[in-house]
């Protein structure tokens, strides 16, 4: 398995995309630190990058990579190599290189300009979001044989979790605003990894007071150890569930 991973890594690095992605993150983080010296504000600006760009890059890059390495996968499957280990090798290589790019791109400038707890949380949520969207992209890649269709499905995941879901949530909150909705919204948020990551971050930034009573309620829930463990495990489910479904489909797929 390590040999297969080695070859996939080699292939990934040669496309130079990962290097470009790292450079982009480095540049934007440096720029934001230059504009503002308050690290809290910088993290808030970076948060928007993390919540929109990281999932987008993750889904598009993963799907394109999967279809570009179709020949490699086909070649490997005729060899004495386990199907599951090929699939996991693909996942590990893509996830590690995207996470690596992210950690270097955000982490290095943060270290230079002084890191604090919020940056650590930002790094952590970014990594988890990358893992979640790489899983979703693998799922969309094994669902169809057509590259364009797979990218379409992957983008749909991104649209849904970044834009559509929030709209639906707002609509629910607005139309049922006469009822106590704290717990229901809290549950609904668990169904969207992007929202979950956003709330974990916002509470770190101590601006939850701006959200009024609900903010206080969230703070009480997510700030507690139990809440942290729970939100972390929900995010882990978001990583593992699409990945295991994708692996199940892949292990019975005709090539």
């Amino acid at each position: 398995m390590t040999r297969v991973i080695k070859y996939i890594f080699y292939d990934l690095l040669r496309t130079r995309f990962i290097i470009l992605y790292t450079a982009f993150l480095l540049l934007s983080t440096f720029a934001m630190f230059q504009i503002d010296s308050d690290s809290g504000k910088v993290v808030l600006s970076l948060l928007n990058v993390v919540l929109m760009v990281v999932p987008l890059i993750s889904v598009v890059f993963t799907t394109i990579h999967f279809f570009n390495s179709y020949e490699f996968i086909e070649l490997m499957l005729a060899q004495p190599v386990n199907r599951k280990s090929i699939f996991l090798s693909e996942y590990i290589s893509v996830a590690v290189s995207l996470c690596g790019a992210y950690v270097i791109g955000i982490g290095v400038p943060a270290l230079l300009f002084g890191a604090d707890a919020t940056i650590i949380t930002l790094l952590f949520t970014g990594i988890i979001l990358t893992l979640v969207f790489v899983s979703l992209a693998f799922l969309s890649s094994v669902l169809t044989r057509d590259k364009a269709k797979a990218i379409g499905i992957a983008l749909l995941f991104w649209f849904y979790f970044s834009l559509i879901y929030d709209g639906l949530l707002l609509w629910v909150v607005y139309s049922f605003s006469d009822y106590p909705l704290d717990k229901i919204t809290l549950t609904l948020i668990a169904f969207n990894p992007v929202d979950l990551a956003r709330i974990i971050m916002l509470l770190q930034l101590d601006i939850s007071a701006l959200m009024g009573y609900t903010g206080a309620f969230y703070k009480e829930f997510f700030g507690s150890n139990l809440g942290a463990i729970l939100s972390f495990s929900i995010l882990m489910i978001w990583v593992i569930l699409p990945l295991s479904i994708a692996m199940r489909i892949f292990s019975r797929k005709d090539l």
Partner: protein, 242 residues
């Protein structure tokens, strides 16, 4: 050595393999023949685990290949259309395959030498012609001394010199007691290379016997004629039963 038991495969509504039962044994060489789209490649791919049959079972050395992968160590496969990572060179590809298939036996680089592939080791895969690609496929199939060799249209696209080299290699492997499964439309080639005929038509196994028996049955001296007579006889039988 390898048994296909009641293999069915459907792609959507299309029934590609229809209740195929076939046993193949070591130190024999099988010619897998049938018209285009009759299911030869699907049968081969299901043996390799690239295609999962809708129902039925395949046994390799009496063990089911479902969810197994170790048995592929014993198979050398030359695909009909060799698809390889496009941006690596021939040398890197061969090194990679050696690396992935770690094993104790010595590798068999006879074909690499015979095809003079070492001269173009740093050529990228995407720049190769169809014939050169086919040579690489052949070299890779024979590289690991596998006891089972599956060759899907091995001579298609090769120049006459390369065809002769490959045929010699196949015959020498045959005499070493390996199991060979060869599909081809060039029946004259098969006459020299194989001992048995397996005829597939529309996903069904129609005939499975030695070449000698087929020639006796049809009173023909050449395999090509014998097959043609066999097909005609089948058609006649079908028209009577209908």
């Amino acid at each position: 050595m390898i048994s296909f038991i009641n293999i069915n495969k459907k792609f959507g509504k299309l029934q590609v393999l229809n209740d195929v039962n076939l046993d193949v044994f070591a130190s024999k060489s099988y010619a897998l023949i049938g018209p285009n789209g009759s299911g030869k490649t699907t049968l081969i791919k299901s043996l390799l685990g690239l295609v999962v049959p809708t129902s039925g079972e395949i046994l390799f050395d009496d063990k089911s290949i479902f969810n197994d992968w170790k048995y592929r160590e014993k198979i050398g496969y030359m695909p009909q259309i060799g698809r390889y990572p496009e941006n690596i060179s021939i040398g890197q590809l061969i090194d990679m395959m050696k690396n992935i298939r770690s094993h104790n036996d010595k590798v068999d680089e006879e074909l690499i030498d015979a095809f003079k592939l070492y001269k173009i080791y740093d050529k990228k895969m995407h720049s190769l012609s169809g014939g050169t690609r086919q040579k690489v496929s052949a070299a890779l199939a024979f590289l690991f001394n596998a006891p089972v060799l599956i060759l899907d249209e091995p001579t298609a696209g090769l120049d006459p010199l390369a065809v002769e080299i490959l045929k010699e290699k196949i015959i020498s492997e045959k005499t070493k007691g390996k199991l060979l499964l060869i599909t081809s439309h060039v029946l004259n080639d098969l006459d020299e290379l194989t001992t048995d005929v397996v005829y597939i038509f529309e996903g069904k196994l129609q005939y499975n016997n030695t070449i000698e028996a087929l020639k006796d049955e049809t009173n023909e001296k050449r395999l090509g004629k014998a097959i043609a007579t066999l097909i005609k006889q089948k058609e006649l039988m079908d028209s009577i039963t209908e």
